[in-house]
């Protein structure tokens, strides 16, 4: 089956799989403790004992880059899954039933869309305090609207399709129709979008890290590591370069999966 996957999907899945393995096996793949500081060995260049050098408090950059995969994958998955579940559920029901529920939900969508994304997330994080959990909560509150809109538009089409109408005349219950017939026929674009969205989530997390409202120290997270290392860019380029490389490669992997899926599922591509 994999053999029939488009090349980009195989390649992207490969990259992401590598990161997944790295995340799971992090403690066995890395030589050091990601949190142990060593003031005698700060800002050591790559080579020797430190494959990617050490940062400003003497932590091993390689170890932290690998461990950060855990946080970033978690952040990406949860940051997409939470809004996806909320958005898809609301979009399905709003699109299928229409009426008052639909109108109210769409006004809420309008309201949320009218806030600039990063600013709303920033405000929510300021309110809840920084940290991954709060970031994900903020995302869930903001990002579900894209999913809801996407799926609602498709549901409006699918609900009038012959097989749905047939199911309805056969007397199937609405939830059954929605989950058995409507959802499977509308979910593909959502999956593709989710892949791109995951890149955006990781990037948004990095942006918050730049403002200082990202993950809490000493958590290893690529965005926060780039932001921390930026100050040392001339003195010790490796502190921000390697986490940057990791983030970019992960992003490329996800984008390729998105591309490949789109091609395979024939969405916006043929």
């Amino acid at each position: 089956m994999i053999a029939r996957w488009p090349k980009s999907l195989r390649f992207g899945a490969g990259i992401v799989l590598l990161w997944l393995i790295a995340a799971v096996l992090a403690p066995w793949l890395t030589p050091a403790d990601p949190y142990a500081i060593d003031l005698d060995n700060t800002l050591r260049p790559p080579g020797g004992d430190w494959l990617m050098g050490t940062d400003h408090v003497g932590r091993d950059v390689f170890t932290r880059v690998v461990f950060a995969a855990r946080i970033d994958i978690w952040m990406g998955v949860m940051g997409v899954l939470a809004p996806l579940l909320i958005g898809v559920t609301i979009g399905l029901f709003a699109g299928y039933f229409g009426g008052l529920f639909d109108s109210v939900m769409m006004r809420i969508v309008d309201i949320t869309l009218a806030f600039p994304f990063l600013i709303l997330v920033l405000a929510i994080v300021a309110m809840l305090g920084p940290g991954i959990t709060n970031f994900i909560i903020a995302l869930a509150l903001v990002a579900w609207v894209s999913y809801a809109r996407l799926i609602r538009a498709d549901v409006m089409v699918v609900k009038n399709a012959e097989y749905v109408q047939a199911a309805r005349t056969l007397g199937f219950s609405s939830p059954l129709i929605i989950f058995k017939h409507v959802l499977p026929n509308t979910i593909s674009p959502i999956i593709v979008y989710a892949m791109t969205d995951m890149v955006l989530v990781v990037l948004a997390g990095a942006s918050l890290g730049f403002i200082g409202l990202g993950v809490q120290p000493p958590t290893a997270e690529w965005g926060a590591m780039i932001a921390d290392g930026q100050a040392y860019i001339t003195e010790a380029w490796w502190v921000s370069f390697f986490p940057g490389l990791a983030a970019v490669s992960f992003g490329i992997g996800l984008s390729l999966i998105g591309d490949g899926l789109a091609r395979m599922l024939r969405i916006g591509d043929t």
Binding site: R107, I108, F117, A126, M127, Q230, I233, G251, I252, S255
Partner: protein, 310 residues
Amino acid sequence: MFLKVGKRLGHILPVLLGISIVSFGLIQLTPGDPARMILGNKASVEAVEAVRERMGLNEPVLQQYGNYMLNLVQGDLGESLRYQQPVSELIMQFLPVTGFLALYVIVLTVPLTILLGILAARNRGRWIDQLIRMTSVLGMTMPVFWLAMLMLRIFSVELGWFPVSGFGTGFVGHLHHLFLPAVSVSIYLIPVLVRNLRAALLEEMNADYVVASRSKGLPEGYIFRRHILKNASLPTLNLFGVLITWLIGGTVIVELVYAIPGLGTLMFNAILGRDYSVIQGLTLFYAFSTVIITLVTDMLSALIDPRIEL
């Protein structure tokens, strides 16, 4: 048509009302005290209380909201708690900068997007398509602040081609000052836009009427110009709308890195300083412009393609 526009305009009011409630609620729930943020941590509790009293922050929440809405209906966005300057004045002070940046980005992105989108679509699957795709993935996944800082180091500090900060004076000065910021935003945006445009074009290329024209033996270039481009203008237009609305609020990070005194900086500082009235005023401003731009895009779409419902 006019009826429908009227109906859409009618929707704006509840949306704006909702936004005012949400932003007001968010502010009330956010810990931190604007009075303390002006006076400083050494200031006495009494002084903080006095300032809160003057700002009207000690009144019941509903009354505060009522007052706010009452002023709003009269077109008054209130005064900045921190600067005692009308919020509308502050917005007008920072808007031109962000507006200029947004236009600049559009001027940079739109031609390139169309160029790359068409190139990729026409050469689908060939090396040029792959190249465009890979570079755009790279552009999209680089954190914008990192890229911005690198460009600043290289082009401003090392080479001295561009200024580090600010807005400059005069049209040419603005162009010069905002070049790197505009490029930073574009590098992030172009990939997203190209990807969308390419998909839209491909969809058109495989549409029935194109296949039909092709079977009639019309030359490919002719079909592309006559049919595909024309029909792809719709998704492009929509993309354009999304782009503008994104730009109004999406330049915060770039504004911070390049020290540009725009709306993003204003909002960022207002959130950090808990300048409630500025946060609220700006939110409403953002919302209003988003709604209007979306409406205009939809109206234009309806004009181009009468099948589209408003």
